[in-house]
C-alpha cells in the first residue's frame, strides 16, 4: 500500500492545529505530565527522605588491636579476643574485637569485629563490619554491611520503581484522551467522508492520525523526564549521598518502553474508536489498556520478576510485538469502506 510521508505530515499538521484550539487536549498534554513529573515524586519521596538522618554510613571505625593470629584452626566453646582468624572454623564461641577472614562460624556471638568473606550460621553479630559474608539464620545489628543498601536507600529505591509505573502511565493515558477526540471526533463531525474522498491511502490516514498522537505524547514524556530527574535527585541526594537518577532502568523505561506502550495505547484506541460512537465511551474503554501494564509493573515491584534494565528492554520488545499485531488489526479496522459503512 502506498505511503506518502508528505501527506502524513499534512495530516499531522492539521491535527496539531486542532490540538492548539482544544483546551481539553492541551490540558491533558501539559498538565498531566507536569503533575506526574513534579508533584508525585515530591509527595512520595520527601517524607521518606526527610526521615533519614543523613547519607548511609561507611564502615565502623573499630580500632582493632590484634595481638595474635590463627590460620586453618578448628575452635569450639572458646572466647576469642584481639585475634586475627584466617580460614578457621569456629563453633559456640564468643568473639570480640577480632578480624575474621574466610572463616566458618556457627552458633556464636560476634561483636566489634571486621568480617571478610566466610559464612555465619545461627549466630548473632553486632557492631561489626561485614563484607561478602554469607549469613544463614544470623542476626546482624548496628553493623555495616558492605554493598548492602540502608533501609532509607531501600525505601527510596522501591518508591522510585513505583514512580516508574506512573511515568509509563503518561504516554499510556494521554492517548486515550487525545485519540478519542481525533478519531471519534471525526465521526461526530462527519468529517471523515470528505477526508476519505481525498487521494490519500488508508495507511497514510492511519499513520497520520497515530503519529499526530504519538509525537506529542512521547515528546512530552521525554520533556518532563528532565525536571523529574532534577527533582528526584534534589530530594534524595541528601539522604542517599549520591544522585540515583537517571539509571539504566529509567533510561530503558522512559526512552524505550514508554514509546512502545504509547503505540499500544494509540492502536487500541483506533480499534476501540471503530466500535464506539462517543468520545466518553472511547476514553473509558481506551483507558483499560493501562491495566496490563500496571499489572506487569506491580509484579515487578513485588519482586516476582526482578526490575532490571534488561527486563525492561525485554518488556519493551514484548510490547513492540503486541504493537505490531495491533497495527495489523488496526489496519484491517481502519479501511475506508469499513469506516464509511460501519462508523455511524
Amino acid at each position: 500500500m502506498i505511503l506518502r510521508w508528505d501527506r502524513v505530515g499534512i495530516i499531522v499538521q492539521k491535527e496539531f492545529s486542532e490540538f492548539r484550539r482544544n483546551k481539553y487536549i492541551l490540558y491533558s498534554l501539559v498538565l498531566m505530565p507536569i503533575i506526574f513529573a513534579t508533584v508525585l515524586p515530591a509527595i512520595y519521596l520527601i517524607p521518606v527522605s526527610s526521615m533519614s538522618e543523613g547519607p548511609a554510613n561507611g564502615p565502623l571505625d573499630l580500632d582493632l588491636n590484634l595481638s595474635s593470629s590463627m590460620q586453618g584452626e578448628y575452635l569450639s566453646d572458646v572466647v576469642l579476643s584481639n585475634i586475627s582468624l584466617v580460614d578457621c572454623t569456629v563453633q559456640n564461641a564468643i568473639i570480640s574485637n577480632c578480624r575474621l577472614e574466610n572463616c566458618t562460624v556457627e552458633g556464636s556471638l560476634v561483636e566489634g569485629s571486621d568480617i571478610i568473606g566466610g559464612g555465619f550460621t545461627d549466630s548473632f553479630v553486632q557492631q561489626s563490619n561485614l563484607d561478602g559474608t554469607d549469613l544463614v539464620g544470623t542476626t546482624v545489628q548496628d553493623s555495616f554491611l558492605a554493598g548492602q543498601p540502608s533501609d532509607t536507600e531501600t525505601a527510596i529505591l522501591l518508591l522510585l520503581n513505583i514512580l516508574l509505573i506512573f511515568f509509563i502511565l503518561i504516554p499510556t493515558v494521554i492517548p486515550t484522551v487525545v485519540a478519542s477526540y481525533t478519531i471519534v471526533g471525526e465521526k461526530i463531525n462527519r468529517s471523515l467522508e470528505p477526508l476519505l474522498a481525498t487521494p490519500t491511502t488508508d495507511l497514510e490516514l492511519l499513520v497520520g492520525k497515530a503519529a499526530s498522537i504519538f509525537i506529542p505524547c512521547v515528546l512530552v514524556t521525554w520533556a518532563v523526564f528532565l525536571p523529574f530527574v532534577i527533582i528526584v535527585n534534589t530530594i534524595t541526594e541528601p539522604a542517599l549521598g549520591y544522585s540515583p537518577m537517571p539509571d539504566a532502568i529509567w533510561i530503558a523505561g522512559v526512552f524505550l518502553l514508554s514509546p512502545m506502550v504509547c503505540g499500544m495505547s494509540i492502536l487500541s484506541n483506533v480499534i476501540i474508536s471503530s466500535r464506539v460512537t462517543d468520545v466518553r465511551s472511547a476514553q473509558q474503554l481506551g483507558s483499560l489498556v493501562v491495566l496490563p501494564i500496571v499489572a506487569l509493573f506491580l509484579i515487578m515491584a513485588m519482586g516476582l520478576i526482578p526490575l532490571t534494565a534488561l527486563n525492561i528492554v525485554f518488556l519493551a520488545l514484548v510490547v513492540l510485538i503486541i504493537d505490531l499485531a495491533m497495527l495489523n488489526l488496526a489496519r484491517r479496522t481502519f479501511r475506508r469502506e469499513e469506516i464509511l459503512v460501519n462508523w455511524k
Binding site: 492539521k14 492545529s17 463531525n189 462527519r190 470528505p194
Partner: protein
C-alpha cells in the same frame, strides 16, 4: 499524481456505470445501474430516502466498492485500486453533511484540503481566495467554522469540493436544510459551475433544483426507474398538454375534440380546455379549426407540460 496509467483507462471523458450493484448485508442499495453521463453534463439523481443515491455517489467517488458491475470515471475503473487515487483527485465531493473541522477557520479547512489534493502553494492560496470571495466568505476567512451558520458551512464545504479544480463534481443534497436565501446562493453558484463546463452529478430531493439545474435526471429506487431530461420525462409519462382559452364555449366541445386523432384526453375548467395530445404541431391546428367550426371563439392557445413533481411521483408510484 505520478501514477502509471492502468490497463483499464479509456479515452472517454465521462461517467459510465455498467450493471453497477451494491449490497449491504443482503440489503440491495443499488442494483444493475446503467448510466452514462457525458462530459460537461449536469445530471440529477432523484429518489426517496434509502434509494441508493448516496451509495452511488460513494461508489463513483471510489470510496466504496461495487458488489458487482463496474463504474468508470474518465475511463478509470472505480474498483481498480491503482485508479482509485486518480479518481479521487479528479472528483470534488460535497457530502450530505458539511463535515468541516469546526475548531479550524474556513481558510485552514481549505488549506488542509488543498494540500491533501496536492495543489501547489501559490495556486492553492489564489484559488482559496477566489472561492471564499465568490461565496461571500472572505471577510470571515479566519473565523472558526464552529461559529458559522449552516448555509455558511455549506458554502465552505462547496469551496472544499472545488479547491483542487475537479473536472467532476458530485453534490449530495447541496441545498438540503438551508434557508431560502442560502439555498438560492448555493443554487446560483451551481449554475455558475455548470457554465464552466464541469460534469456535475447532483443528488437531490429538491425537484425545483433538479428542474432548474439538470440537463438530465435519473429516478432511482435501488434500480434506475427512468432517465431523461425533465421535459422528456414529462412527455413520456404524461404526454404533451395543450391549453385552449376560449371567449365563448360551444356545447359539446370537450367531447368533440376527443374525436380528433392524437387527442388523448380533454378537461374543461371554466373557459379553459386542457388537452393531452400526442404531437401539438399536428393536433393543435385541428383542435382550433374544430372549435371555430362549432361557433367557438379562441382567445389563445398555450402549450404546457406537467411539473417534475407529478412526473417524479408517477415514476415512483408506478415503479417506472
Amino acid at each position: 499524481m505520478g501514477l502509471p496509467p492502468s490497463p483499464s483507462v479509456k479515452a472517454n471523458e465521462m461517467i459510465e456505470t455498467v450493471d453497477l450493484t451494491r449490497r449491504f448485508d443482503g440489503l440491495v442499495a443499488v442494483e444493475g445501474l446503467n448510466l452514462r453521463i457525458e462530459d460537461g453534463e449536469v445530471f440529477g439523481l432523484l429518489g426517496p430516502n434509502g434509494a441508493g443515491k448516496t451509495t452511488t455517489i460513494r461508489m463513483l467517488s471510489a470510496l466504496i466498492s461495487p458488489t458487482s458491475g463496474s463504474a468508470f470515471i474518465d475511463g478509470l475503473d472505480v474498483s481498480h485500486r491503482q485508479d482509485q487515487l486518480r479518481i479521487r483527485s479528479m472528483v470534488g465531493l460535497l457530502p450530505e453533511s458539511p463535515g468541516l473541522y469546526e475548531s479550524l477557520s474556513a481558510w485552514q479547512n481549505l488549506e488542509f484540503y488543498g494540500k491533501m489534493y496536492g495543489v501547489p502553494t501559490s495556486e492553492r492560496q489564489a484559488r482559496i481566495k477566489q472561492l471564499l470571495t465568490t461565496l461571500e466568505l472572505w471577510d470571515r476567512r479566519d473565523d472558526a467554522v464552529s461559529g458559522f451558520s449552516k448555509g455558511m458551512k455549506q458554502k465552505v464545504s462547496i469551496a472544499r469540493a472545488l479547491v483542487h479544480e475537479p473536472r467532476y463534481l458530485f453534490l449530495d443534497e447541496p441545498t438540503s436544510g438551508l434557508d431560502p436565501q442560502a439555498a438560492l446562493t448555493v443554487r446560483q453558484y451551481i449554475m455558475e459551475l455548470r457554465g464552466e463546463g464541469r460534469t456535475i452529478l447532483l443528488n437531490t430531493h429538491n425537484l425545483d433544483d433538479a428542474h432548474r439545474l439538470c440537463d438530465r435526471i435519473g429516478v432511482l429506487r435501488s434500480r434506475l426507474l427512468a432517465i431523461g431530461s425533465p421535459d422528456e420525462l414529462a412527455d413520456r409519462f404524461f404526454g404533451r398538454t395543450t391549453m385552449v382559452r376560449m371567449v365563448s364555449i360551444p356545447k359539446g366541445v370537450p367531447e368533440a375534440v376527443l374525436k380528433v386523432p392524437g387527442v388523448l384526453s380533454s378537461e374543461l375548467n371554466g373557459n379553459e380546455l386542457t388537452l393531452r395530445v400526442e404531437d401539438p404541431s399536428v393536433q393543435n391546428p385541428l383542435i382550433v379549426d374544430l372549435i371555430i367550426s362549432m361557433g367557438g371563439k379562441v382567445e389563445y392557445v398555450e402549450q404546457g407540460r406537467r411539473g417534475l413533481e407529478d412526473v417524479y411521483l408517477k415514476i415512483i408510484e408506478g415503479g417506472g
